[in-house]
């Protein structure tokens, strides 16, 4: 079986050529992409940048997010450069436990708010074991992406602007944990994305009065299209052309018909994960 005859040598060489070609292809075809992952009833957004850089915002309700990432990441890359948790509800959080098992998360950003739940406690233990650099999100924080350039100096692109929370939330208890939301604006692929997490009307109003919300192209609709989010005021301030609703089979009545109508009135085109699967911007 291991007597190396010509056929085997040619076969192995051919195989190696395919593998190397694949590797080069994966390296070369990389482009900036924003993917709203279909993880069922829950949120997860994946940002891919050239140079094997990935940002994961929320991880959905379960382990299937790991397999989803396997589809989009190059086969040799098991590092996630930045992960962001918007708030500690299970439908945004639980997937991280599987992510920590299958990937190395280098940097982690969250609000640090207190929340009493079993999943959150498990998550905190896993986060500690993962050994990522931990950042507490604060309004005004900027995540920039340094692009190595041959001709000029390295160019910095600011790309993720944190809009909320306004104060330090480390160890703070909340009546409604949705008030501790990490809201951010992503600028990529010539588009502005407003990522609302599960933010509700109170927080929306706060952001509007503090002038944090400007004109955007795409709105990640807050709280899976629940009736307590996405007010007319917000739509007026953000003026999105398109909206993503991250929703799966659920018994909460998400997305709420009145919210859909409201967005239709503003002429917003709606994309839903439960109807389309993953939604990709490139």
């Amino acid at each position: 079986m291991l007597y190396l005859n010509k056929k085997i040598i040619i076969g192995v060489l051919l195989f190696l050529v395919i593998l190397i070609f694949w590797f080069v292809l994966e390296k070369e075809k990389q482009e900036a992409r924003v993917i709203f992952l279909d993880v069922g009833q829950g949120d997860s957004q994946l940002v891919l940048l050239p140079g094997d850089v990935q940002i994961l915002i929320d991880a959905g309700p379960g382990a299937n997010v790991s397999a989803k990432l396997g589809q989009y990441l190059p086969f040799y890359d098991k590092d996630i450069e930045l992960a962001v948790l918007t708030h500690p509800h299970a439908d945004h959080l639980r997937g991280f436990i599987s992510i920590f098992k299958n990937y190395r998360v280098k940097n982690f950003m969250f609000s640090g708010a207190n929340y009493d739940s079993r999943v959150y406690a498990d998550f905190m233990a896993a986060l500690e074991a993962e050994g990522s650099n931990i950042y507490l999100a604060r309004a005004g924080d900027l995540v920039s992406f340094v692009r190595h350039s041959m001709s000029d100096k390295n160019v910095q692109h600011p790309m993720l602007h944190i809009l909320a929370p306004a104060e330090n939330h480390l160890g703070v208890n909340f009546k409604s944990i949705h008030d501790s939301m990490v809201v951010s604006q992503l600028e990529l692929a010539d588009k502005k994305f407003l990522l609302m997490g599960d933010a509700e009307e109170d927080l929306e109003n706060q952001l509007i009065t503090s002038n944090a919300i400007g004109d955007v192209d795409v709105l990640k609709v807050g709280h899976h299209g629940s009736k307590t989010s996405t007010s007319a005021k917000l739509l007026q301030a953000a003026r999105p052309e398109e909206a993503i609703i991250q929703v799966g089979n659920n018994s909460y009545g998400h997305p709420y018909p009145a919210v859909l109508n409201r967005m239709a009135e503003f002429g917003v085109k709606i994309f839903r994960n439960d109807q389309l699967g993953d939604v990709i911007y490139r």
Binding site: M1, L2, Y3, L16, I18, W22, G70, F75, K78, N102
Partner: protein, 384 residues
Amino acid sequence: MRISRVLVTFAAGFLAGVEAGSVFGFSWWLAAILILAGVSGGLFELSGGSGRGFVVFVLAVGLFLGFLRVGTYHGAIAEAEKTFWTSARGVLTVKVKNILPVDEAALFNAMVLGYEKDVSAKIKTDFNRTGTRHVVAISGMNISIVAMLIMSLGLSAGLWRRQSFWLAAAGVAAFVLLVGSPPSALRAGIMGIILLWAQNRGRLVQAWRPVMVAAFLMVVFNPTLLNGDIGFQLSFLAVLGIIYFKNFWARMFGWLPLKLVRELITLSMAAQTTVWPVILYNFGSLSVISPVANIFVVPVLTPIMFLGLGFVITSPLSFLSPVFLWPAWLILKITIKLVEFFGSFGWASADLGKSGLMVFLFYPALYLFWRYLENKGWNDALPQ
């Protein structure tokens, strides 16, 4: 009388005793009747001057002890995959997960290290539907490929055939130990070595004796295996099928082109011959596409086990791991796509409903069929 025959007779009796004990339940009355019948039967035969007396006696003692063993065993019914050296396998599985994408890592860990937990339900279903599930577990087939690889390594390094066989046996033992020797890997190791031994000894049919002794040894340690462990039943039935029906199927498919295709179809059909009633009884469906799917999926095992062996041996040097794992990734990715493709046909698997009827009807019929084939001379190996 030869000692090997005594051992085999004793093993047969023991297995029958365990089976009787698990089916009918244990009672001291029955045990007493068994031992009395054995002793008196043996004495009776001996006094008549018949040489068979001793055989009857050994058989009865085996039966009695098997009966006793299952009656006094208090282990858990379904013993978890405990490993006596868990950490070794744990380190290796984590290493694979850190290098390969999720699905491929899970499949690699299942095939090479016998760790099936991470394989997603969807992939498992696809493998089931195409009758290729046996490659996902660590099985006699995987291990015998490892053994053959080591053996050919030994041969090309200039060792004698016999020396390379022992090298392969030692290699398999080390491999089983290294992956933490869960019961499934242990069984696979024993099966792999038996198959290798039988192939080197010529006539395959003689291999039923070591198979029986292997089953006996495993059942001695855990008598619930025989009646309660589907994996145990299927792997022994498959090996017996290969031993007894490989030549028959080789004759049936002698017209196929390409030696590799012929060999794979023959092996797959031979294993299916004995396995399908138990699959039907336990799972209620049979894979129709299995022979075709196996042609494409089984050859994958050789490079995967080769790369797996390389990975395991070089695992202390971390920087070498990707050299073995990335090629494995491409092969596994293709495998998953293939199995998805074959499983996507509606008719890939026939849902017949669980039924144990075939177990009772088919095996006696199969025995008669085998006798018939034997008389016709169709069980002899094809002239090479």
